[in-house]
Amino acid sequence: MTRLLKNPLLLVIGLALVVALLPLLLPSTFYVRVVALVFINALAVLGLNLLMGFAGQVSLGHAGFFGIGAYAVAVGPTHLGMPTWLSLICGTVLAALVAFVVGRPILKLRGYYLAVATLGMGMLIAMVVSNEAQITGGPNGMPVPRLVLFGWRTAGPLIWYWISGVTLVIGVWIAINLIESPTGRAFRAIHDSETAARVLGVDVARYKLIAFVLSAAYAAIAGSYFVLFDGFVTPETASFLRSIEFVVMAVLGGLGSIFGSIVGATILVLLPQFLTVFHDYEHIVLGTIIILFLIFLPAGIVPTASSFFKRRSA
């Protein structure tokens, strides 16, 4: 088990197999829909984990980048006549650009100060999409034209299952590559001791910015998928609450664990589906479960489990 988790390429292959075979086991399109949502959220959390879990820089504003991706695929085709795929690319580039411009000054801040600065950035983006009513439809939102791929209209959960599943596998592969490279080592070094990293020649400001821009791009792609799947976008897409959800998914699954990002997203997407029996008290139960997890498994689910198996096998 631990060896399986150790070899990174096996993780990618394993995930690809799960994505390929899972539809055979899912009893109805309802479940296909839920799993597609897991994949989309996991993609955003994966990027956030590169920033928070590896480079050690907190962000409470990633729903902002998610929102930029989301509104790009709504506004691009509707107002600018751009094809959806091009809008998606432009949205991702725009989110990366915003991260680059905003990140340069605010990544000099640390800890709580960085948390508040990113929070402000996220809220600002949410306010812009909610106030520019002529373009974005304001608080009511706007419909998102369907993605047309090779003359084929992509509607329905199964198609989005495949698109988001394949993208997640590629996203995991890229994240693993990065971590096992000089860039990834620089991220982890900055997390443990910025001072030591600087003295060894790591340009700390540059690598923080790389992590921030990259995580913004992951979030933007996830945001585009999310509303293309739904067919509608509202300012809620970029809301503060969603930023918090991403952070909770990352922490729950395990900061600094690629696999943990997927586990965290799975739990936080699935729980509300099964908590509907509690209807009125859903949020209380969800909150309690999260608090219990954070008290008893502060390192996150995957790191705790893998150290448990390591101890067992030792």
């Binding site: 890229i174 590559n177 982890r188 003295v199 020649g201």
Partner: protein, 262 residues
């Protein structure tokens, strides 16, 4: 030309003058010790030399070039690296990964190739790992390569920091208390490592409280007290200097010590 020279360096924090007009120059292959009682300003001096603090007065010259306001990562590129008195180890990485970070400047840093792990990145990772393994062997940590740094004992972490600093291939190496918390055997191992580093042409500047280690390996000793230079010279001269003894033992103790030396 000296490989590293500091001229009239000074810094104060609030009203406290931590370092006040310190001047010295260090040559290739030299082992230069900076000693002094607690609070003399040794670590502050190191923090200025490695670019972590900006001096308020004076200059720092590295290989003849003024590097006074140069950031640490730029200094590392120009050949200056250091270790820390209060360990700054990457605790969540393995020992060998710690040293691999030290190879950062000698690796190609194109992020796009890293995203897609081209074969060149694989080759480079293998080279970096091999070089890091050699350095771990040099400081006697070959066995610990794959262990998380957080699980290593204190003495091993000190040597790990030395290996990591060496990985940058410095021309000047600042060692801040390399033997602190080490037992006599470990101290002797560090002794041998420092000598072999200097023998390769690196200028080693060390702050150390273990006087036996300092006397044994230093070619010259610079004594600080309350931020000022008290004395500089060869081990024997410094040891018998009354001002130095007074600083370490206080006025009354100095008289005792002077009698003991006679």
């Amino acid at each position: 030309m000296s490989i590293l020279a500091v001229e009239n360096l000074a810094i104060s924090f609030g009203g406290l003058v931590a370092v006040d007009g310190v001047t010295f120059a260090v040559e290739h292959s030299e082992i230069f010790a900076v000693i002094g009682p607690n609070g003399a300003g040794k670590t502050t001096l190191f923090n200025m030399m490695s670019g972590l603090y900006t001096p308020q007065r004076g200059r720092i010259l590295l290989a003849g070039e003024d590097v006074t306001n140069t950031p640490p990562h730029e200094l590392a590129r120009r050949g200056l690296s250091r270790t820390f008195q209060n360990l700054q180890v990457f605790f969540r990485m393995t020992a060998i990964e710690n040293v691999m970070v030290g190879r950062h400047l000698h690796e190609k840093r194109n992020v796009l190739t890293h995203l897609f792990t081209l074969p060149s990145v694989h080759r480079q990772n293998a080279n970096t790992r091999a070089r890091a393994a050699e350095l771990l062997a040099l400081v006697g940590l070959a066995e610990a390569a794959e262990k998380p740094a957080g699980s290593l004992p204190y003495g091993a972490l000190r040597r790990l920091e030395i290996a990591r600093a060496l990985a940058t291939e410095p021309k000047v190496l600042l060692l801040d208390e390399p033997a602190a918390g080490c037992n006599p055997v470990e101290t002797e191992e560090i002794d041998a490592v420092i000598k072999s580093i200097a023998a390769q042409g690196v200028a080693v500047i060390l702050v150390e409280h273990d006087m036996r280690l300092v006397m044994r390996i230093s070619s010259r000793i610079h004594v600080l007290d309350r931020g000022r230079t008290l004395a500089e010279g060869r081990a024997h001269d410094v040891r018998s200097n009354p001002a130095v003894i007074a600083a370490y033992l206080g006025g009354a103790g100095a008289q005792e010590a002077a009698r003991a030396v006679d």
